[in-house]
């Protein structure tokens, strides 16, 4: 896997590079600004970009805008955004564009190397990796989830993070079949079209979350 990192803090840039190297992931370029990102994108065509949300010059949401820009120009671009604090509004902007090949995680998650690399792999493969925290925010204004049981809600949140049924089963320490049952029940309650494929189910859940 070939990665381009865009992060203005040299300390974090190096830490990320070291971490990815441990997992035998190649960092082909490490940039500090959105400007450098465009250059690196053209030059290296990496499998996935890791972009910090706050970048110079204004340190607000440059990273989000750079990612949206990148994804608009190249539908194949896969982007994992890292942020000091995740925000539902930014997630909505990004999801409205496309939920495939998209990740949006708290920076803290980097501290759990294996978990982070797993999320990065999911994004590189065209999947989704949303931070649990942003998923909770996205669900705040959806009244329909009051109809779900606590377990179903847990399953829904894990799906929205972009996880497969097998991953959800191992996370909740239940059987695949039990997860299947919960998923069927959630899709029934939310009136979503059933689907057998993990990826499509995630897309359906994200589309539901992002619809108003």
């Amino acid at each position: 896997m070939r990665v381009v990192i865009v992060e203005d803090s040299g300390l974090l840039r190096d830490a990320l590079t070291r971490l990815l190297a441990d997992f035998e992931i190649e960092v082909v370029a490490a940039a500090a600004t959105a400007e450098d990102l465009r250059r690196a994108a053209a030059e290296h065509a990496p499998d996935v970009f890791v972009i910090d949300v706050r970048l110079p010059p204004s340190f607000t949401d440059e990273g989000v805008r750079a990612a949206a820009d990148l994804r608009a120009r190249d539908p194949e671009a896969k982007v994992l955004l890292l942020s000091q604090a995740v925000e539902e509004r930014y997630a909505r902007d990004l999801l409205a564009q496309r939920s495939e090949g998209l990740g949006y995680l708290l920076k803290d998650r980097v501290a759990d190397g294996a978990e982070f690399v797993d999320a990065l792999g999911r994004v590189a493969a065209g999947g989704t990796a949303l931070d649990p925290e942003v998923v909770r925010q996205l669900l705040v204004r959806r009244r329909a989830i009051d109809d779900l049981s606590p377990r179903e809600r847990q399953v829904l949140e894990l799906m929205a993070e972009g996880r497969t049924n097998a991953a959800i089963a191992s996370r909740l320490v239940v059987t695949d079949r039990a997860v299947e049952k919960h998923v069927a029940s959630i899709f029934g309650k939310l009136r979503l079209p059933p689907s057998r494929e993990d990826h499509r189910r995630v897309l359906a859940v994200l589309a539901w979350i992002n619809s108003d």
Binding site: D61, E88, R89, K107, L138, L139
Partner: protein, 423 residues
């Protein structure tokens, strides 16, 4: 070459704006006189019936509108800035009928009525007559040499009461006219000045009102300073008790692990220590993140209050239902920020002390205010005692001219309500 001011006065814009005012003052005065005479007498004579009182209230409300018009005209034409009543925040804590009756008890509406009903008309009349008569006489006499001889000789006596033919008569006529041309601006200015003095006295704020407004703004400044100091103290405490303590413990654990490894001791023990240190580092990250958010969430500046509320509500361990109706227009930054921190502090209290099972937060913008309300079904007993988070909030809200009410009887439930003016 600079001419003495006296000579240039008739040619200055100011003079003609004042003359313009003198001409407008009469129709305005007539309008106010008829309007308020009719409304005033009708309402007073029907006061013993039901209609009189509402009519009187309406009349007094209208004096505010009329004063505003009068002040605007004076401001535009006379460059006389007459301040209106000091803005007081909408008293949403009072019942509607109390607010509606407010002009009845407000001295300034009665003072305005005195000007509008009794003074505006005579003043307008005086100004109008002075301007018309003085300018006509002045201009007629000054220009006499250009038209006097076109008049038939037998009619010439009617114009100025006597036939002008001797040179000294011409000198007196034209000289007097010229004098009048240069005097008229000053006469009109004196009359206008008198009007402005009366307007300031009767349509502007009273000394008491000004003093109260000044005292209020001084009080608001003190509250803002107190709130900022309180916030800084809180940040210092949080850093000290939270992240700093965790980093110390993390460094100790890593140091112990290093010793084990260097001394060739049990690597299992070292691994255990490192695992603990890793957990502590992650906790410290989370605490610093929360702290940064507590100081100022970036999304509040970026995307506004509505967007910032999502993460507040999502982080609450007690389920919270959120209602946010803020419209598309952003409120001023300090108002958004105060509203955000009211919700944040209230939800922190809910989580820490209330033992509530559910809470509801509502942030609604309506009629020049943002109304923030957080309710829970917990045990109550929250107080805004000195030094508490709620007291800090009250300072912060007070600094913006708003009010914060904590209703939390022992046994619950708790409701925290803040009204923040945002015109």
């Amino acid at each position: 070459m600079t001419l003495p001011g006296f000579l240039t006065e008739p040619f200055r814009l100011r003079t003609w704006k004042e003359t313009g005012y003198a001409l407008i003052a009469l129709p305005l005065g007539v309008a106010w006189f008829t309007l308020f005479l009719t409304l005033g007498t009708t309402s007073v004579s029907t006061l013993f019936m039901v209609v009189g009182l509402p009519l009187l209230v309406l009349t007094l409300w209208l004096t505010r509108l009329a004063s505003h018009v009068q002040r605007e005209v004076a401001g535009k034409l006379l460059d006389a800035r007459i301040p209106g009543r000091p803005q007081t925040p909408a008293r949403t804590d009072q019942p509607w009928y109390r607010r509606l009756l407010e002009p009845l008890l407000d001295l300034s509406s009665w003072r305005a009525l005195v000007y509008l009903l009794l003074l505006a008309f005579p003043l307008g009349l005086a100004l109008f007559i002075a301007a018309v008569v003085l300018w006509s006489v002045a201009l007629t006499t000054v220009s006499a040499p250009t038209w006097y001889f076109f008049i038939r000789p037998q009619d010439r006596g009617d114009v100025f009461g006597t036939v002008i033919d001797a040179p000294w008569e011409w000198v007196v006529l034209v000289g007097g006219g010229l004098l009048l041309v240069f005097l008229t601006p000053w006469i009109i200015r004196a009359l206008v000045w008198f009007d402005v003095v009366l307007m300031r006295a009767l349509l502007g704020p009273t000394r008491g009102e000004l003093e109260r407004a000044a005292a209020k703004s001084a009080e608001q400044r003190d509250l803002a300073v107190a709130a900022a100091t309180g916030d800084r103290r809180q940040i210092e405490r949080d850093l000290h008790d939270g992240a700093q303590a965790r980093l110390v413990s993390l460094a100790v654990d890593l140091g112990r692990a290093r010793l084990r490894l260097e001394e060739g001791g049990s690597s299992e023990e070292a691994a255990e220590l490192v695992r603990g240190a890793h957990e502590e580092a992650k906790q410290a990250l989370a605490e610093i993140r929360d702290l940064a958010r507590g100081i100022h969430p970036a999304v509040l500046t970026d995307r506004g209050l509505d967007a910032a509320l999502s993460s507040l509500v999502a982080r609450s361990p007690v389920p919270v239902s959120l209602r946010s109706e803020l419209g598309n227009e952003r409120a001023p930054e300090q108002v958004e920020s105060a509203a955000y921190f009211v919700v944040a502090e209230a939800l922190t209290n809910v989580a820490r002390h209330s033992k509530a099972e559910h809470a509801a937060a509502s942030v609604v913008r309506d009629d020049g205010v943002i109304l923030v309300e957080v309710r829970d079904d917990g045990v109550g007993g929250a107080d805004g005692a000195e030094g508490s988070g709620l007291a800090g909030l009250r300072d912060r809200v007070g600094a913006l001219g708003g009010t914060l009410v904590v209703d939390s009887p022992l046994g619950g439930p708790t409701a925290i309500t803040a009204v923040l003016p945002c015109a």
